[in-house]
């Protein structure tokens, strides 16, 4: 299951909408081992394409090193589909290389109703998981308000 703050969901969806009809991509970093996405990092889609995405290699090095230095990991890796459903494509599965990450797919094909779904992709096997959106992730407690 992916538990994520609403503010982060909103940022991911806003990025996907802004880059439509090209695919948008990025990560949400979180403390290593926590499984909690915390720090939103929009990435450049070096392909600038409606059907493909690839992180810019130099930007990826910088961001991955920054995560290393802060003892973080890519808890969420997201990208958008702009004409199809929010389900991993064959290429998404074949290039998935972070077995610990939640792969979030957003579909912007319907401008009014953006789909937001999450998957594990390990050794070529896709498993969809529940997404729980929380209002805030403060130490005082979490309020689960919505499940997809």
């Amino acid at each position: 299951m992916l538990t994520i703050e609403r503010a982060l969901v909103d940022k991911i969806v806003a990025h996907a909408r802004a880059d439509h009809p090209d695919e948008a991509c990025g990560v949400v970093a979180g403390p290593a081992g926590s499984d909690r996405p915390a720090r939103f990092v929009a990435m450049t889609n070096a392909e600038r394409s409606p059907t493909f995405y690839r992180f810019d290699s130099m930007e990826q090095l910088r961001v991955w090193r920054e995560m290393d230095d802060r003892d973080e990991e890519p808890v969420v890796i997201y990208h958008s589909h702009t004409a199809t459903e929010a389900y991993p494509s064959r290429t998404d599965v074949s290039y998935a290389s972070e077995p610990n990450a939640h792969y979030v797919l957003v579909s912007t094909r319907d401008a009014e109703d953006v789909e937001f779904r999450s998957y594990r992709i390990v050794d070529g096997v896709v498993t969809e998981e529940e997404v729980t959106v929380v209002e805030s992730d403060s130490a005082e407690g979490r309020q689960a308000t919505e499940s997809h």
């Binding site: 991509c25 990560v27 990435m43 392909e47 059907t51 493909f52 995405y53 690839r54 992180f55 290699s57 130099m58 990826q60 090095l61 991955w64 890796i77 990208h79 991993p88 494509s89 064959r90 290429t91 998404d92 290039y95 998935a96 290389s97 972070e98 077995p99 610990n100």
Partner: protein, 90 residues
């Protein structure tokens, strides 16, 4: 002195969990062969058909080796090599 190579999570099964390993060689190609002798299977995850795999990023001292000389890029003691799987899809 040797060349330090940083290994991504997905390849650490080949390095007994190590985040970084050391190797030697005059080029990246030689370095990967040297590493493969101690970490069998590693080279095949990086090289295919005599070329760097398309969806693997290799950096020499923070430069993408695709913009240097690919597998023929010269390396020497004290250099740092970082391997990162590309994040890509459709």
């Amino acid at each position: 002195m040797a060349i330090e190579v940083r290994i991504p999570t997905i390849l650490r099964t080949l390095t007994d969990g190590s985040k970084a390993v050391e190797g030697k060689g005059g080029t990246l190609d030689e370095l990967f062969s040297d590493l493969d002798a101690r970490h069998p299977g590693l080279r095949a995850r990086l090289v295919e058909g005599g070329k760097l795999r398309r969806f693997v990023n290799v950096y020499l001292n923070d430069e993408d080796v695709r913009f240097l000389g690919g597998l023929e890029t010269e390396v020497s003691d004290g250099d740092n090599v970082t391997i990162l799987p590309a994040v890509a899809g459709g």
